[in-house]
């Protein structure tokens, strides 16, 4: 009789310890999913997530037999008084060709603010074949009040871009960056001679 109860108590204790271990494991797993998801999306190119670092130009023969339409879309943000525009809505490039296009950020308010343009590529299959050599999307931007900033995007489409992709859409969405969160120093953008700043 008491033997049965002792066995039960031992069993209950074992079950509770295992359950709590499983709980802690699953809680940690939920947080581990955040970087895992990111890595997974980057490796597979799912979700249109683009590398946030510059890639080198690969010198390869330009495939002049086909043209790919690259479209640019820019979107503002509710929390940021900026306007973002692009020099042309779309351009036709050959795979392997290096292309450059100017984007303009305008601060419509009197006070300085930090912002960031977050890119997304569609179709997501094309993400891995779009190499960004230089992009404002790698870092946060600072605009003084009434300032206009023009920055080029330099990119290259890889030669191995799948045959069935004829149009690639590149979307930039502006987001405000809170002071406390920014981690890029101003110098990065100041030193680049291709960046034009002017006051409107």
């Amino acid at each position: 009789m008491s033997n049965l109860h002792e066995n039960q108590a031992v069993g209950v204790k074992r079950t509770v310890i295992r359950s709590i271990a499983a709980l802690i494991g699953m809680f940690a797993f939920a947080f581990a999913l955040v970087p895992l998801y990111d890595v997974f999306c980057r490796i597979t190119g799912i979700n249109g997530k683009v590398d946030a670092t510059a890639q080198a130009i690969v010198h390869e023969e330009v495939d002049e037999s086909r043209f790919v339409n690259v479209q640019f879309i820019t979107r503002g943000s509710a929390g940021l008084p900026w306007r973002m525009s692009v020099e042309m809505r779309q351009m036709r490039v050959h795979p392997g060709q290096t292309a450059e296009v100017d984007f303009t950020f305008t601060n419509n308010s009197r006070v300085e603010s930090w912002g960031r343009a977050v890119p997304s590529v569609s179709p997501s299959k094309a993400t891995r074949h779009l190499r960004k050599v230089s992009c404002f999307c790698f870092e946060e931007q600072l605009l003084q009040g009434d300032e206009r900033l023009t920055i080029p995007l330099v990119f290259q489409l890889a030669r191995d871009l799948p045959e069935d992709i004829n149009t690639i859409t590149l979307v930039y969405t502006l987001y405000p960056v809170e002071q406390a969160l920014r981690h890029t120093s101003l110098d990065n953008t100041r030193n680049n001679k291709k960046i034009a700043r002017e006051t409107i």
């Binding site: 008491s2 002792e6 209950v12 359950s19 709980l23 977050v118 997501s124 969405t173």
Partner: protein, 544 residues
């Protein structure tokens, strides 16, 4: 890490083996409110859970009626859109976390020890704690409605960044309430697993357990696996709101779609948490009133286990339109359809149990039969939604609302009501008033279909969910739905009446209240005394 077990002999209620020695071994319980605050008895805690969930069922129901009253005709009449959003959100949250889940936990507390021949739950004091967390959690959640900016208004799925960047200031309280409710569920689940695995009557193997016990064992594993993920998600929300992180904020490198993946990794197993115990109840009632053993006991157990495992592989079918790659759409479409196989096995077994049985139609059986038919309708609309290309049309329409209400109202809730009518004689010692119970059944079954069936058509015609106004062509469908909702809601007062009458008196029930019932709970007297199975019963294996 593990809670310290009390040093005294673990089962304090079984100090004596004298035949009617129960009364001698116990100190008199405290009187009044303290008795309920301090109780560690599984039957009393089970009753507390059930009463709590019944109250919450009515509060959530009133929220639903506010929604239906506003949708009675096109245009904005009664409430402003901001309050409408709070009502849809709170209706969902209360019904899922405060009505359906605690009702099943209450039934588990009452019936699992009785069905496996245990004297109580394995951890009685933890049991008390897990119950009393619930009133705290949901008082807190309901109080957000009175806070500046109002309560949660982002839908019960609380998608970020709608629930972080654009949410009302009360969201932090919502997160705390959900954390407390989650802890309650987790502790309840640990207790149930510990009870089932360790405290069965000598000789009862796992494959001898009644299906209600089996389904709850699997449900408890699901709870232990996914409630921590929910806790993780809302913790990330909390940090995004208050501590400047960017888990779900694209500006800081986060990803809103990640929220949906994490949420539905919890959310899909969660919907099975709300249906598996219902399968268990129906699998107890149908054999009883068909007077035949359940057809295919082992296949029922394996089907439940298969559904539980598959529930971890289907979450993205809630997100077909977020821009998943084609391979993912196909994967989640096929795994979702695969769930129809074990579910089909279960429906087949219930129908086959009925085949050539000598069936009688008492109120528990009526609810159980309605469950089989109407849950299957909900299953079919689920299959339609599983087809990824078709889902692009159905997504976020009233078709989805019709689907999940068919599996939750005549699914989970009818099964709970069936269980209540089935076990009331054991709880109170009286049969429920059969005439009133049958009125309740017919009103409910008509009300449910009147409310939810037209939603299929409104949804297929393109009516979006969670919107307080709609285009004129949906007016007739919504008129019928609203009339049905008020009819259904009002008729639930009959349910309360039947329960109150049954507690106060009625036809006396014998120990074995239903002729065809076989499980261990029918070997103890009706009403079940406060302490049962202090000496483990002799378990005799029925032939499954």
């Amino acid at each position: 890490m593990a809670p310290k077990l009390p040093p005294q002999p673990p089962l304090q209620h079984s100090t004596t083996a004298v035949a009617d020695g129960q009364a001698h071994g116990h100190a008199a319980p405290p009187k009044g409110i303290l008795r309920w605050l301090l109780t560690t008895n599984h039957k009393e805690i089970g009753s507390l859970y059930l009463i709590f969930s019944l109250i919450m069922f009515f509060i959530g129901g009133i929220f639903a009626l506010v929604v239906r009253a506003e949708l009675f005709q096109p245009g904005l009449q009664l409430v402003n859109p901001e309050f409408f959003n709070q009502m849809t959100t709170m209706h969902g949250l209360i019904m899922v976390f405060a009505a359906v889940m605690p009702a099943f936990t209450g039934l588990a507390n009452w019936m699992i020890p009785l069905q496996i021949g245990a004297p109580d739950m394995a951890l009685p004091r933890l049991n008390n704690f897990s119950f009393w967390l619930l009133p705290v959690a949901f008082t807190l959640l309901l109080s957000t409605l009175l806070m500046p900016g109002g309560g949660p208004n982002f839908g019960w799925t609380f998608y970020a960044p709608l629930s972080t960047t654009y949410a009302p200031p009360s969201t932090t309280f919502f997160i705390l309430a959900l954390h407390i409710a989650g802890i309650s569920s987790i502790l309840g689940a640990i207790n149930i697993v510990a009870t089932i695995l360790n405290m069965r009557a000598p000789g009862m193997r796992l494959m001898d357990m009644p299906l209600f016990v089996w389904t709850w064992l699997i449900t408890a594993f699901l709870l232990i696996a996914v409630m921590p993920v929910l806790a993780g998600v809302i913790t990330m929300m909390l940090m995004d709101i208050n501590f400047g992180t960017s888990f779900f904020d694209a500006a800081g490198g986060g990803d809103p779609v990640l929220f949906q993946h994490l949420f539905w990794f919890f959310g899909h197993p969660e919907v099975y948490i709300m249906i598996l115990p219902a399968f268990g109840i129906v699998s107890a009632i149908i054999p009883t009133f068909a007077r035949k053993p359940l057809f295919g006991y082992a296949s029922m157990v394996y089907a439940v286990a298969a559904i539980a495992l598959l529930s971890f592989l289907v979450w993205a079918h809630h997100m077909f339109v977020v821009g998943l790659p084609l391979a993912a759409e196909l994967f989640f479409m096929y795994t979702t359809m695969l769930i129809a196989v074990p579910t089909g096995v279960k429906v087949f077994n219930w129908v086959t149990t009925l085949f050539r049985g000598s069936i009688s139609f008492e109120s528990p059986m009526l609810f159980a039969l309605a469950f089989v038919v109407l849950f299957t309708i909900g299953g079919f609309s689920g299959l339609m939604l599983a087809i990824a290309p078709a889902d692009f049309q159905y997504h976020d329409t009233y078709f989805v609302v019709a689907h999940f209400h068919y599996v939750l109202v005549p699914g989970a809730i009818f099964a709970i009501m069936a269980g209540v009518y089935y076990w009331l004689p054991k709880w109170t010692g009286h049969y429920p008033n059969e005439r009133l119970a049958q009125w309740h059944f017919w009103f409910s079954v008509i009300g449910v279909n009147l409310t939810f069936f037209p939603m299929h058509f409104a949804g297929l015609a393109g009516m979006p969910r969670r919107i307080p106004d709609y285009a004129l062509q949906f007016a007739d469908f919504n008129f019928v739905s609203s009339v049905g909702a008020f009819f259904f809601g009002t008729s639930q007062l009959l349910f309360v009446l039947v329960i109150v009458l049954c507690v106060r008196g009625g036809k006396k029930a014998p120990a074995k209240a239903w002729e065809g019932a076989v499980d261990l709970e029918w070997t103890v007297p009706s009403p079940a005394p406060l302490h049962t199975f202090e000496t483990p019963p002799v378990f005799q294996r029925a032939s499954h």
